[in-house]
């Protein structure tokens, strides 16, 4: 499966959960959402070889005033 996050991309084998895939690419599951083939899914979903997975960063920052 192909996983993208911002301007990065990885190829990982299917059969693992989205949560494991997030950890595998070195990200924090609390800090991203998983969009699989265009649909938002929870991180217990088991991904397959054909899946296109986009990880969406949820952390924004700065002065925290307007986000």
């Amino acid at each position: 499966m192909r996983i993208t996050y911002r301007d990065k991309a990885w190829e990982l084998p299917g059969g693992m959960t989205a949560g494991d895939a997030i950890k595998k690419v070195g990200l924090d599951p609390e800090a991203v959402l998983v969009v699989r083939n265009g649909e938002l899914v929870t991180d217990d979903v088991i991904l397959s070889d054909e899946d296109e997975v986009k990880l969406i960063a949820v952390v924004s920052g700065g002065d925290g005033e307007v986000s």
Binding site: D28, P29, E30, A31, V32, L33, V35, E39, L40, V41, T42, D43, D44, V45, I56, A57, V58, V59, S60, G61, G62, D63, G64, E65, V66, S67
Partner: protein
């Protein structure tokens, strides 16, 4: 994982609530919870005008979308900071414009900092390398937000979520900023005629929930972070809190709600000249005067921090 309400596949698992929901039920849950918090914390009434400060990001656009869908007279305020680095300001304004185009009757006011005050935020920041850009930008935004809310006769609403609030709380605790701790709240009532009421209707939602709302509602928000926010302290504290949350479900929520309870019980009052018998309202304990130049409330003698900033900037131009 299945939706707790209907058994369809869940799109989000809110571990702190032990609640997984499908898209349909999540999009019903968020507005219902928001409405409950608005009422419980007396943020504003249905007849009032709300000015939503929008940046083009997920939180503020989601808040505006949600308040409009709940039937509030919610107007938008976009502050053009003039951040040309990576096209940030123009891209974020384009997102806000697109949001407005899709919503009939949505009213947006744009304040261009450079046009109104003569310099953009990056220009100001370059002249003050000793100051953090984010705090300088925050000062300018807070001033303009308050001024515009007063002009519109509106309550100011911002998209702060629980992660924002918990990160600020952690920062305040680490430095034992007791004055800031006393004034950190989901709603800041107007305690001066030149001070607009401020509310944070999303303060109980985790950041991943506001992001999920934006995605499910098809809100096209600016995904890139402000180029000046890279390495910002707030982001570092959020990462720390997320690591804690990963180990202990609900840790962020408990941290913030326990703080609010302690604050309501007067836990921080011993540091202030009130005596233990009564709880002061937000901003009590502060000697609020008026700025000699603009009239906005300030704790400083003479000019407020905003006018001091621009007075120096003008002197540098002259």
């Amino acid at each position: 994982m299945r939706c707790r309400r209907c058994s369809k596949p869940a799109v989000i698992n809110m571990r702190q609530h032990k609640l997984a929901l499908c898209g349909e039920h999540f999009l019903g849950w968020i507005p219902a919870q928001t409405q409950r918090f608005i009422k419980k914390y007396e943020m504003f009434d249905p007849g009032e005008t709300i000015l939503v400060a929008v940046s083009g990001g997920k939180d503020s656009l989601s808040l505006w979308d949600l308040l409009l869908s709940l039937g509030y007279e919610a107007r938008g305020l976009y502050i053009d900071l003039g951040i040309s680095e990576e096209g940030y300001s123009s891209s974020s304004l384009a997102k806000v414009d697109r949001f407005v185009e899709k919503r009939e009757g949505a009213r947006l006011k744009v304040v261009d900092v450079k046009e109104v005050y003569g310099k953009s935020i990056p220009q100001l920041a370059r002249e003050r390398p000793e100051q953090k850009t984010c705090s300088l930008c925050g000062l300018v935004k807070r001033y303009i937000m308050n001024e515009t809310a007063l002009e519109e006769g509106a309550v100011l609403a911002t998209g702060h979520n629980l992660d924002d609030e918990a990160a600020v709380l952690l920062q305040n605790v680490l430095h034992w900023q007791t004055g800031y701790l006393l004034r950190q709240a989901p709603v800041l009532p107007s305690t001066h005629p030149r001070l607009a009421q401020k509310a944070k209707p999303f303060f109980r939602f985790y950041e991943r929930e506001t992001a999920a709302y934006a995605i499910l509602r098809g809100i096209d928000y600016i995904y890139e972070e402000c180029p000046f926010a890279t390495g910002a302290t707030t982001i570092f504290y959020k990462e720390l809190l997320n690591r804690l949350e990963g180990r202990s479900r609900g840790a962020k929520l408990q941290f913030y709600l326990s703080f609010l309870r302690a604050r309501e019980k007067g836990f921080f009052l011993r540091m202030l000249p009130f005596g233990p018998e009564r709880i002061p309202s937000v901003n009590e304990g502060l000697e609020l005067g008026e700025c000699e130049r603009c009239g906005q409330p300030t704790t400083a003698p003479g000019l407020c921090a905003f006018c001091r900033l621009w007075k120096v900037a003008e002197a540098e131009v002259g």
